[in-house]
Homo-oligomer: 140 residues x 2
């Protein structure tokens, strides 16, 4: 099935493609301060999780589980933060963030906190490769 | 089945019981700034959504849907914000918040923003009664 959706320009600029799940693009937020993934369902016009059909909701839930396990498998993680806000970018996207006690936003939320510290090219590529490798491992 | 869980003291102090869902207590956050519900699964020791068994995850998802519909039915709602953070209170709880463009935290998250403005007794009782009435209506 062709993807009928267009990725929001801000999401595209602030994150990097990791892999396609059954429903969503899994993307890495371009911010070295936090291990931070985002799931973007490939559904044109989707804005609220609530308004997805039940089967899509359950797929998204399974992808959130996988994203959380991936974060746990790839570094320290004292708490997983899950958030679907969308006040700024209306395209439906769900954040899955690994929080570490004492990280720069701790114990507050990461959303809207301070300024992104973007990856350099090499660090970004290494991080994406690591995530893809561990994601494959999760699937087996 | 008796509830084996104890509600966290901070959650108990910051919110009011609305109703019991199949899995969770539905509670109203004691803050007049935002229409703000929280779901607290009645599971002793639960902290991460990720670690719930699949059937409990799906029940929680259904309760989130119901909480979101309830907020929509009871006032203006430009965007639903859903969050499972737990950096401060580790007992698993999921926030479901009705956001209105231009509300006092807009477009940032409500968590950790400013100071709670608690309900007076009468306003609280009226709000709880309204929510329970609309919740019953939703169930029919």
């Amino acid at each position: 099935m062709p993807d009928a959706f267009d990725l929001d320009a801000r999401l595209a600029s602030d994150s990097h493609f990791v892999a396609d799940g059954p429903l969503s693009q899994l993307r890495l937020i371009d911010d070295t301060r936090f291990p931070w993934l985002v799931l973007v369902p490939r559904l044109a016009g989707a804005s609220e999780w609530l308004d997805l059909p039940g089967d899509a909701q359950r797929l998204l839930l399974a992808e959130i589980n996988q994203a959380g396990r991936l974060l746990r498998a790839s570094g320290r993680c004292d708490k997983i933060n899950i958030g679907a806000l969308g006040n700024i970018v209306r395209q439906l996207h769900v954040h899955v963030v690994a929080r570490v006690e004492g990280d720069s936003a701790w114990p507050g939320p990461v959303w809207g906190w301070g300024s992104m510290q973007r990856f350099g090219n090499e660090a970004r590529d290494a991080r994406l490769a690591e995530l893809r490798e561990k994601l494959s491992w999760e699937r087996t």
